[in-house]
Symmetry: C2
DNA sequence: TTTGACTCTGTGGTGCACCCTATCCTTTAA
DNA sequence: TTAAAGGATAGGGTGCACCACAGAGTCAAA
């Protein structure tokens, strides 16, 4: 069982983020001491925390992660992952388009200058 | 000379955005009627408005555009455009990396499930 | 002249995912 | 025992680029 600071260092999620995730019902402590409200995390919490961190880095929003965490069978997870992959691909295409436009602007923009 | 609504439709920048840009000293009206404070825009304003809109779509921030508009020779412009192109390329690389991580996660994640 | 459309300023709100601060209580090591 | 370290809660702040709204004044067509 880890207290919040230790768990924070373990997972890379800040203490504020951990409390925020709890508030969002995304990740709750494994146990809360009634006498002082201290949060205690365990290895199950760790697994979930790492999952959440990965999902965030994949571009998932808090709401999307809530939807994933809500069903314990994780059936939504794979769907979400494929969506995110698709989204990354779309954004790559958009950025390539933007690059083309910048290049075009550099070329034709020269005329209007001087 | 166009009043703000007409100019807004002409350029695609909302009236609020036009007033905001003026406040930011990014784009001022060509003429302001002292008696009623109405803004009037002309073709020079139009040229600049279109430029700003393009720069925004290239991922430039307000601050960066200010830097461009501050020097009338537009010497910063080309530098900024190349920076933005580079940035788009970097972000594409990052997104490709994310896609790899998602794919990797889908593959190895299967083990942990069930 | 009236009326509806337009303009102005100033101020506050938005979204997202946190971060920070103050204040208070509890634990822990010396 | 004491003092530092660490925990809690509540509420406000952040950044960015706007958007929305209230309240007041102004213009333009019928």
């Amino acid at each position: 069982m880890y207290k919040i600071s230790e768990f924070s260092e373990l997972t890379g999620l800040s203490k504020e983020t951990l409390r925020y995730y709890e508030q969002q019902q995304l990740l709750e402590a494994a146990f809360v001491d009634d006498s002082n409200n201290y949060r205690y995390y365990d290895d199950g919490s760790y697994f979930l925390a790492i999952l959440l961190q990965k999902l965030r880095s994949f571009g998932c929003t808090i709401q999307e992660m809530k939807d994933v965490m809500r069903d314990e069978s994780f059936t939504n997870l794979e769907v979400l992952l494929h969506q995110k992959k698709e989204r990354q691909n779309m954004e790559i295409t958009q950025k390539q388009q933007t690059i083309h436009e910048i290049e075009e602007f550099i070329r034709t923009g020269q005329e209007g200058e001087t």
